[in-house]
């Protein structure tokens, strides 16, 4: 599948059901390791509600682009008040009351239904700003992230826009939001591999199960990383064994790494030996992607 994409570049999504398990830590450390090994790497932060990768990669931002989503703009002088726009809209984003049309742009999914159905051509498409995309560079790493406007409910269109910026680097490491719902699906869709980061606790296991089901529903290859692997119980390991899910890396709980994280430093900066672990992780991912048999 990946071989069909530009120059054989690989897209790896880093996701997790549960929040705070270490997605961003894994994604930034992996990107930094690959970059130091000579790969051309892009790190893309799709956790647009709370993007944090920039804290660790500290890129020099060189461009900011506003991102909008299409919404209807009604020319009331042409509107005949027929109400067809309100009838077709499944999201109550445009309603017609007593012949008067009102729009609720924040509910609009941008489907164009109202524009297509209007017999008077009274509706045109305009844009509503939902956030921005910032791009930059740090050493050899291309950096892209989306920042959702505070108060904005819809993150999927911004995530889509971030992913459209991915180009032909060797590897794209894509940082996903927590959870298993639409923003996560938008992020992991059409990637070559999904790394699920979890911790060995009951909450970690419960949310990992949901994340695995989600990734399997999308027909994507996956592997698991257990972070702070020595803090809890064996539930996650047992589950992975039982489900035949590859366990690709275990990272011990380390106060020094946690402190470095709190200051915005990557683990590979304070413990360079970890680069070996992340390089090994990468090898295992590549092996998994190249294996033709679907797991």
């Amino acid at each position: 599948m990946f071989a069909e994409r530009r120059n054989g570049s690989l897209r790896i999504a880093v996701a997790s059901g549960k929040g705070g398990t270490g997605k961003t830590a894994v994604a930034t450390n992996l990107a930094a390791t690959l970059s130091s090994e000579g790969y051309r790497v892009v790190y893309a932060d799709c956790d647009v509600e709370e993007p944090n990768g920039h804290i660790f990669l500290k890129p020099t931002i060189r461009s900011v682009e506003r991102v909008g989503t299409p919404v209807p703009d009604v020319d009331l002088s042409r509107c005949n008040g027929c109400g067809k726009c309100g009838d077709i809209c499944e999201f109550s984003a445009i309603v017609c009351m007593n012949g008067k049309v009102i729009t609720f742009p924040e509910l609009c999914h941008g489907c164009d239904g109202c524009i297509l159905v209007c017999p008077e051509n009274a509706i045109r498409e305009t844009q509503r700003e939902i956030g921005c995309i910032e791009r930059g560079r740090r050493d050899g790493i291309e950096f892209i992230h989306g920042v959702l406007r505070v108060g904005e409910a819809m993150s999927a269109p911004l995530i889509r826009a971030v992913k459209q910026k991915l180009s032909d680097e060797d590897v794209a490491v894509i940082d996903a939001p927590p959870g298993t719902s639409c923003p996560v699906i938008e992020t992991v869709r059409d990637t070559d591999f999904v790394l699920l980061v979890t911790e060995p606790t009951p909450f970690g296991l419960s949310d990992l199960r949901l994340a695995v089901e989600m990734v399997r529903a999308l027909n994507l290859k996956l592997g698991v990383i257990i972070n702070r692997c020595d803090i809890g119980n064996s539930g996650v390991r047992d589950y992975c064994a039982e489900q035949d899910i590859p366990l690709l890396l275990e990272i011990p709980d380390d106060r020094e790494i946690a402190r470095a994280y709190s200051r915005g430093q990557m683990a590979v900066e304070v413990a360079p030996s970890l680069k070996v672990a992340f390089a090994g992780l990468w090898e295992r991912i590549v092996t998994r992607i190249s294996s033709r048999n679907d797991e």
Partner: protein
């Protein structure tokens, strides 16, 4: 009736562990787990499901292949790219049109404009919600279907069921475990509450996310207070957060140390305050007494 919501912006700061403690420390309350795509509160509340209902929300389109004349109008009109040819619908006619149910957002444009009337468009089940009995009173929780959207609407269902239970049983407090982030399900969790507690941690990521979630809460003009979890991980950062909270008018109502008993309590399927009398339990008790009945 008062509603307290616990949110965090950043995930994994300890929302659910703190909500479980509040549940144990309070009286006359209903619990509402609004993290509908990764719900965990039931794991430590000994929840026994007493009532379950399917969550029907939104519609999905599908192509009725017998009627389809293969004109491609749906493919041309769908702005989400949900209509695909030779998609991943394995075993089907390789050249025919399909709609990817995961991508389809249910706008119905294809259904309305299909010249052959070959699109089925119906309501879908996109999750399930539950009313459970726990040792700390009734709890409403939910599970969003795999790869489904509409989490904000499911949050609203959970909250309205919790309100209904509170009214029915004369309970005066709803404790809401919120989702991470600042998007649709968070907005649905915060709207109309009486007190927002933001759980943060002394890391740069925690600080960054705290500020965004504070801005979100300020849209609702609801009183917002903060709790710094794992405060001893980085005392300098904790001091910085306290300053920031003071500047922005957010009272710090709790400082909780890092303690392994949080994980041990989770493994024992209980809350920290019920699990141990260690200093962390006292800190959580003090925080609860401080915010009192909100």
């Amino acid at each position: 009736m008062k509603q307290l919501v616990v949110i965090s912006g950043k995930g994994g700061t300890g929302k659910t562990s703190i909500v479980a403690c509040f549940a144990a420390l309070s009286q006359n309350r209903v619990l509402a787990d609004c993290d509908v795509d990764a719900a965990d509160l039931h794991l430590v509340m000994d929840a026994r499901v007493r009532h379950r209902e399917l969550f029907r929300s939104g519609k999905k389109a599908s192509i009725v292949s017998e009627k389809c004349v293969d004109c491609g109008e749906c493919e041309r009109l769908c702005r989400l790219g949900a209509v695909i040819r030779n998609g991943d619908a394995k075993g089907k006619d390789s050249d025919s049109l399909h709609i990817d149910p995961i991508v389809c957002e249910g706008c119905g444009v294809c259904y309305h404009f299909c010249p052959a009337d070959a699109i089925a468009f119906g309501e879908t089940v996109s999750g399930e919600w539950f009313v459970s009995e726990t040792r700390c009173g009734p709890m409403v929780h939910a599970r969003l279907g795999i790869a489904q959207g509409n989490s904000g609407k499911l949050v609203s269902v959970v909250r309205s069921q919790a309100r209904g239970l509170a009214l029915k049983h004369g309970l005066d407090l709803i404790i809401i475990d919120g989702p991470p982030g600042i998007g649709c399900p968070v907005i649905a969790s915060v709207t109309g509450t009486d007190l927002v507690l933001v759980v943060t941690e002394p890391t740069l990521s925690g600080v960054h996310d705290l500020e965004r979630v504070r801005q979100l809460a300020s849209h609702f003009r609801t009183r917002t207070v903060a709790c710094i979890n794992k405060c001893d991980l980085n005392p300098k950062m904790t001091a910085h957060i306290e300053e920031h909270c003071e500047e922005t008018g957010m009272e710090v109502v709790g400082r909780i140390r890092y303690d392994k008993s949080v994980t041990l309590a989770q493994i024992a399927k209980t809350s920290v305050v019920e699990y141990s009398d260690s200093p962390i339990s006292l800190e959580i008790r003090q925080m609860w007494e401080h915010i009192g009945a909100p």
